[in-house]
């Protein structure tokens, strides 16, 4: 069976002439759970948005399964931070997951049996069968996150870009979401999730990307998740003065 690659080639995104993401190149394979790590302002959300065409790319291209991806695509699903969603929206979990079929049926296509089956499967995979008819406002944080993920699953995406999916979740909810992500990777999908809690990275992910404007490091947890890369990512100042990228800890000029 061919394993698809998500190839990111020389990606640069610029805001007001300052590079938010700077010449990032990566070759990611499906079947992995990848942590995207970096301090605040490192460009993690910008990186995700560039992959799905929500922000314009200054340079670079995105290729998945041998096909160039310029914008919105069924193969790549983007889930923004939970805080941007209005969870009081009058819709059930099932209704929200059904929205994921939009790319398959378009503005006026019929919502048929195949689509209903995809929605049922997505809800079952995320252990939300019993909660399908519940309003999203009545779901817990972890359940909301899984419902959001189920929506992307209903899209039949193969790459899932999750922006801080574990933020605000307690240990049980984190474990359930972690298990859901593990299932996706085992089924052959690629999950990239930005994450802040370094302690839980080895438990939840099998690969790691360190990003701070530019690519600091990428690799399997055993090789790339180490003190040196953490220090480089969180203590490095990529650009100085007014164009400095934020670093979470002490600032020191990058001399590499």
């Amino acid at each position: 069976m061919t394993t698809h690659h998500l190839e990111i080639k020389d990606l640069t995104v610029v805001y007001h002439r300052v590079p938010a993401v700077h010449h990032v190149s990566l070759d990611l394979r499906c079947g992995h759970r990848v942590a995207l790590l970096g301090p605040n302002g490192a460009g993690k959300t910008t990186f995700f948005k560039a992959l799905v065409g929500l922000v314009p790319k200054e340079t670079g291209m995105v290729v998945f399964g041998g096909h160039g991806k310029a914008g919105a695509d069924t193969d790549i699903a983007y889930l923004p931070q939970r805080s941007v969603i209005d969870w009081d929206f009058p819709i059930t979990a099932r209704g929200m997951v059904e929205m994921g079929r939009y790319m398959r049926i378009g503005n006026w296509g019929r919502f048929g049996k195949r689509d209903a089956e995809a929605v049922d499967l997505a809800l079952r995979t995320m252990d939300l069968d019993d909660l399908a008819e519940r309003q999203i406002s009545a779901l817990s944080g972890g359940q909301q996150q899984r419902a959001f993920l189920a929506r992307s699953l209903a899209q039949e995406a193969h790459v899932f870009l999750l922006d801080e999916p574990f933020t605000g979740l307690d240990k049980t909810a984190q474990d359930l979401l972690g298990e859901a992500i593990r299932k996706l990777a085992e089924a052959g999908d690629l999950v990239i999730a930005s994450h802040h809690d370094l302690k839980s990275v080895p438990e939840l992910f099998d690969q790691v990307i360190f990003l701070n404007g530019e690519l600091i490091a990428f690799g399997d947890i055993g090789e790339a998740f180490n003190e040196e890369n953490i220090a480089r990512a969180y203590r490095t100042q990529i650009f100085s003065g007014a164009h400095a990228h934020h670093s979470g800890l002490a600032k020191s000029t990058c001399t590499g």
Partner: protein, 286 residues
Amino acid sequence: MLRALFGCALIGFTNGVLSSFIVLRRLALMADAMAHSLLPGVALALILFGLAPVNLFFGGLVAALLVGLGVQIISGSSRIKEDTSLGLLFACAFSLGLVLLSLSPARVNVTHYLFGNILGLSDDDLWIIYLISCIVLPLLVVFQRPLLLLMFEPSVAASQGVWVKPLTYILMSLLVLAMISSLQAVGVVLALGMLIAPAATIYLCSDSFAAMFWGGGVIGTLGSCAGLFVSYWLNLPSGACIVLVLGMIFFAAYLFSPKYGVLSKFLRRHHLHEESLARWEERTGD
């Protein structure tokens, strides 16, 4: 009176249906600003081309679009945020409209444009309202699927291929059209009432977007017609009565809605959701 009633029903339904978008996307300030921004366009059209409804329609449309464009230009090219530029431009536009109306050679009753004059509806006015409803309602139905995605969350919708920008412009244009139609019923100052109250009422009674959409239209129609009857019988300003009746319907829902009414919450046991209630009942049953 019959003409006014029919006009009221159409205006109420169109604005009621659109109100679901205003409530869910928190566009109340923007909607109020747009309503006020119609005035200079209406006034200028009146001065240059006369009182014909079609002139006022295009004048209002151009003014609202210019203010919308101005907001984007100012907030996009300076440190001024969108809500500030919106507030500033609509206040200036409204003031300009008042000044222009005062300079108008034709004898106009300014209060009719500010607060409505549904009983003064002419056949031409009714045709315009009918035409607007025939544009707004079918377009909302045709685009209901992408609009639902847009309402839920624009960035997720964009990542799924929804044409967010064109759809937003279409929605804004339909909003301007609905406001122009409600000029006659409630005027620019009170137009917001018809665009907020219906969907806000249903939001307290239902968990379905479809219910908000169609139910908003029904509430808008019933409330507007009831307000018109009240103003006719009690000889009170019609625009104000329409908005007051819609407001009273909202407050009734706020208090008595079985789902989300304040009194229902007070009378119900204090549990977060059904699972918690079921566990409590199990425990107390033991």
